[in-house]
């Protein structure tokens, strides 16, 4: 267990290191950050001064080390553009807002959205998958199959617009966009939940079918246990083991779905911040956002792997 744990954490660090290296290389590939900051019309003198302030005159290797050291300390530099209309040539590069806090203050909103969507998706998918597996090849099973395929095929951001049209514009039940009470959360979370419902319900169904076809289910029936107990107390827990290995993947899907859905609903999360940063070519902000999202994803994977070992006694002792 502990050796597995250490190796698993080590792998996560390696991935994070590679991500940061890629981010650094890519950041230097897109052109001179000083021009990116000041715009193509800036004077050569200004560019030279800003290059000096940003440490761009140093050898690339040196810059890389400084970038990595900064990243470890959570210092990705200051924003090029965020929060002000026109970059101030005089102060640019030295006095802007540090980007990491900008990202971190957006994080809770994204987590709230993702966790809500996962909870909605997980509970609905569990019910659908179990129902389909309890009555295999029935009309119910076929209907659930089509529903889940439709879920998988959904264009989530488009669904968002459709929900806005129906529930906000036509019925006026929920606000169209923004952040606030629960009413603001409903539509984006529903939008984000639809695709995972499709995937997870299929997973639950096939895992449950596998489990229900095993000999120990016959043995439990032979003991006179009620079907409900057999399905929910025995089979479901075992079926959740293969499903749990996919939860990490699902959460990643939700995080990446959140990037688009946040834009649709103007949800003030990391996803919409990333899109803003990319569109305005705000390099430090892009770097910090990508880092935080990658860190989130890697942490999710790590936690899921560790939870998995708790679920299955064979892995725990193995």
């Amino acid at each position: 267990m502990s050796r597995f744990f250490i190796r698993r954490v080590w792998h996560s660090f390696v991935v994070l290191f590679v991500v940061l290296t890629f981010v650094f290389i890519a950041g230097r590939m897109i052109g001179d950050p000083a021009i990116l900051l000041l715009g193509p019309e800036a004077s050569p003198a200004d560019i030279l001064r800003v290059r000096g302030q940003m440490g761009l005159e140093a050898p690339l290797w040196d810059q890389y080390v400084r970038f990595m050291m900064g990243a470890v300390q959570g210092d990705f530099g200051t924003t090029f553009r965020y929060g002000f209309a026109v970059p101030d040539v005089a102060t640019a590069g030295s006095t802007g807002t540090p980007v990491l806090p900008l990202v971190l203050e957006r994080l809770p909103a994204t987590y709230l959205l993702a966790v809500t969507a996962m909870a909605i998706a997980g509970s609905i998918a569990l019910v659908l998958g179990c129902l389909a597996a309890m009555y295999p090849r029935s009309v119910l099973d076929r209907a659930i199959n089509v529903i889940s395929l439709a879920g998988v095929s959904t264009v989530d951001f488009w669904l968002g617009f459709m929900l806005i049209l129906l529930f906000s514009v036509q019925l006026g039940w929920f606000p169209t966009s923004g952040f606030g009470g629960i009413s603001f959360l409903v539509l984006p979370a529903m939008t984000l939940a639809v695709r995972p419902i499709g995937r997870v319900s299929q997973l639950v169904r096939s895992a449950m079918l596998d489990e229900l076809s095993k000999p120990y289910i016959d043995a439990l029936r032979a003991k006179g246990f009620p079907e409900r107990r057999i399905v929910f107390r025995h089979a479901l827990k075992n079926a959740s083991i293969p499903v749990a290995t996919m939860v990490g993947e699902e959460l990643l899907q939700i995080v990446q779905g959140a990037i688009v859905v946040e834009v649709v609903f103007a949800w003030p999360g990391v996803g919409s911040l990333l899109v803003t940063a990319l569109s305005t070519r705000d390099l430090p902000l892009v770097e910090a956002t990508v880092f935080i999202l990658a860190l989130t994803a890697i942490t999710i994977n790590l936690i899921v792997d560790l939870v998995y070992t708790r679920l299955d006694p064979r892995v725990r002792f193995g």
Partner: protein, 335 residues
């Protein structure tokens, strides 16, 4: 664990007559059990003998009422457990009978246990469901049962998981949970087939001991004629979903009448373990979706006549309690 005698009429605890089971598959209907009937007397051991696929396990599952339907369909003229008509029992009544009055153990003990629950939980769960006892009480009772089936250091092992036990120990755990509520009948479906020979003997000893103590009747489903001969008082030999020969085990073993039973006996190495030529039965069992009109054993039978493929031989008494479904039963002897 003694039980008041409650079976009536000649002490029969289980009566099955004219049981039919079929499976609907896209490849056609599979006729797994075709008019099987047998009685089980109080405290006796009845062996149901036959090759795999002959319908003996399906018969047991049908009696338990746990066939998977669909694809299975079944009907029977009689199916009684003592005073209870199993054919009319509601699902809830069936559940209260299963595990309490009639229990079952399976071929592969390891696959028959839930891998993610401790063995103590799984044995104790029988008490929790049927008797509604507390968790602590269930655990205590589970330890007692584990000791009864002679699992060493039961107190320590009660919280272990199935994968930490050997095959023989796993089967003991299955036995423990099967006898938990002192059933009148235990259906043992190839209980030792997956186990080593020495472990086999231990399990059979435990079953014999439990039988002596509790007076429970056992249906031993097996392909192993020798094991049946050592354990059972009576036997029913099944072939292609039908019982082809039935009677006292000793009589069948000494004087088998049906060509199939004769074949089974011939394919055994002899008693002293000396080398002798084995005679396995030639050919393979019939496809159960395309059963012939006559005797299903014809293609493999060395005495078969034209009549055998036309007419299904009925069950006829041959000698004493022994009965056989062969047109020529009275003319055949073990060569």
């Amino acid at each position: 664990m003694t039980r008041e005698p409650q079976a009536q009429g000649e002490g029969r605890v289980l009566e099955v007559a004219d049981l039919w089971v079929e499976f609907a598959t896209p490849g056609g209907t599979v006729y797994a059990v075709n008019g099987v009937g047998f009685d089980l007397r109080r405290g006796e051991t009845l062996a149901i003998l036959g090759e795999s696929g002959c319908g003996k396990s399906v018969t047991a599952l049908a009696v338990m009422g746990i066939l998977r339907a669909p694809p299975a369909r079944f009907r029977a003229r009689t199916m009684r457990l003592g005073e209870v008509d199993l054919l009319r029992a509601s699902p809830a009544e069936m559940r209260s009978i299963r595990g309490a009055r009639i229990a079952m153990i399976f071929q592969d003990p390891f696959m028959s246990l839930n891998p993610t629950k401790t063995v103590g939980q799984q044995i104790g769960e029988v008490f929790r469901v049927h008797r509604g006892v507390s968790q602590a009480e269930a655990r205590r009772l589970a330890i007692g049962l584990m000791e009864r089936v002679r699992i060493p250091s039961a107190k320590r092992r009660v919280d272990d998981y199935p994968h930490q036990f050997s095959g023989g120990m796993s089967q003991r755990i299955m036995v423990a949970s099967a006898i938990a509520l002192g059933p009148e009948i235990l259906l043992a479906d190839e209980p030792t087939t997956a186990l080593d020979v020495t472990v086999q003997a231990q399990i059979m000893d435990i079953l014999a001991e439990l039988r002596r103590e509790s007076g429970m009747a056992v249906v031993l489903i097996t392909h192993d004629l020798r094991l049946a001969a050592e354990t059972a008082e009576r036997a029913a030999v099944m072939y292609a979903g039908r019982i082809v020969e039935t009677g006292p085990m000793a009589d069948i073993y000494a004087r088998p009448r049906h060509p199939y039973t004769i074949g089974l006996l011939r394919s055994l190495p002899d008693d002293e373990g000396q080398r002798r030529r084995l005679h396995p039965i030639a050919g393979t069992p019939p496809v159960l979706s395309q059963l012939p009109a006559g005797c299903a054993f014809v293609p493999r039978c060395q005495w078969a006549q034209a009549r055998c493929s036309r007419e299904l031989p009925p069950m006829r008494p041959v000698a004493g309690e022994q009965a056989c479904a062969c047109h020529f039963a009275s003319e055949l002897t073990l060569a």
